[in-house]
Amino acid sequence: MNDVKEPAVSIKGLTKVFPKETRFPIMAMLSKLEGPKVVKGLDLEIPTGEVFGFLGPNGAGKSTVMTMIAGILRPTKGRIKVFGLDIAKDGPRAKERIGFAPEVPALYGEMHPVDLVAFHGSFYGLGSKAKERARDVLDRLGLTGSLDQPVGKLSYGNQKKVSLAIALVHEPDLLLLDEPTTGLDPGSVILFRDIVKDLKKKGRTVFLSSHVLTEVERMCDTVGILVQGQLKLMDRTEKVLQTVGPDGARPSGLEQVFLGLTGQGPPEALKGGAGHGG
């Protein structure tokens, strides 16, 4: 199923401008005015089989980029290809190979986990195997004991796992995970890390955004840092950690690189003295 010749994700000149928000909804409906430019001419290429960590401060545009790759939002300008398939022209075929888990679990609360995951799986031609596959994925995520209650009654962490199960049920070649470990307990984070390792072994591509930089450092082959809709850095994780700063010092972790690039950290972090990532 994997096409090794084509990159998993190829983005050229991606720009997203949202409509202008107005005080009155009727004005928003009628207005063609442009709002903020969230993504500004982004170029990005993720080779197949990589685990890619997409970093950036809040509001940098990470989720917007991920939802555009998933075909949920439409780019204002630019082109996105998934395994060589243009998401705008060949959306359904590209989407067959994508699994997506949003930052906040978006679930039909009245459905039971197996039914919900199977419902989502049924769109990928799983047919009569959808329920069996749903059970397997939920079992792998450690949700076996919570299958008899509606999804809406589950804890946030377990809802997050159900959301992950929905993304995994059809065994996608490209997994887009927006803040996958937020709200998970330490045991579940370890389990999640194992799942990502397993997916990598199978040659799948994982594109994840996270604020837990130690996790990204541990799991990701490549990292990209997005700041105000523009890619400030994109390189192999080990290379990023080897980069020598202007003061001749190497960063003590990804956290320090991130803070330096985004200008968010305390001064000592920027100087390279107080980093503790990793």
Binding site: P25, A28, M29, T67, A70, G71, I72, L73, R74, G91, P92, R93, K95, E96, I98, F100, P102, V104, A106, L107, Y108, G109, F119, H120, S122, F123, Y124, G125, I166
Partner: protein
Amino acid sequence: MAGEMAGLSREFKGALRVARREMARSLLSIRSAVIFFLLFLLVVGGSYGIAEIYNAANLQTINAQVYRTPDTVLFLVSSYTALMVPIAAVVLSFDSLAFERSKGTMALMLVKPFQRESLALGKFLGALGAVSVHIVISSVVAIAVIAYFTGSSPSLFNSVFFIVMTILLAGSYIGITMAASVKAKQHGDAVMAGIAAWLVFTIFWLLLPMGVAFAMGWVYDVNDPTFLTFSNRADAFNPNGVYNLCLATSSGNGFLTLGVAPVFQALSALLWFFIPLVLFIIAFGRSEG
């Protein structure tokens, strides 16, 4: 060619999956139970009332031509369905998109391997399916009541035609409501669009022929051919009106449809079903979801 067929099959299957889920969500809601109760009460109660009028010989003089057959009794029941079915359609469809948006589940539906248009079609079919269940149950009971109280049943053709036309009427309002809800930022905006359509077509439209008759100096009388022709032609531009015209023709009361040939009635009914649906699908296909 095979690829195109596979693509079409995938789109259609996707739309049907969405429709099944949407229909179940609608039917299991509390508002569905309330709407069913009201529709049932009005349609079945109305059929009993009109059947009783049919039986009362002294009341046949109201319009000797009209209260003639069980088919006509069923036709007259359409005045109740034309009142209640649009409301049922609006109530069961207005939040179909807003619900997904507010829950965030729209994103997970848009990532599925089919076109946005198929998702829109699925949403429409789901809401139509839910309203159709209400319509079929209420209509079948109404037909049974007519048969019991008049001593003979409306013809099978007219019974089926009545149900099909009522479902088409519901489809018009679902299409209008859903097309409005694509742009609506809040649940209330979508329900307002549906209610506004209902008010325009059910209440204000009645005033149109009266106003024109007054302006033109015509006699305001439903038996006056000039007035009736104009009134019927105006009705062809109204989903409720065309519903009434079609049922009048099928029930053998074609004289009531003066000025609008059956072929135009059928055409208008189909256009009223498909135009809002197509507008909704196009609007949703172009939207961000």
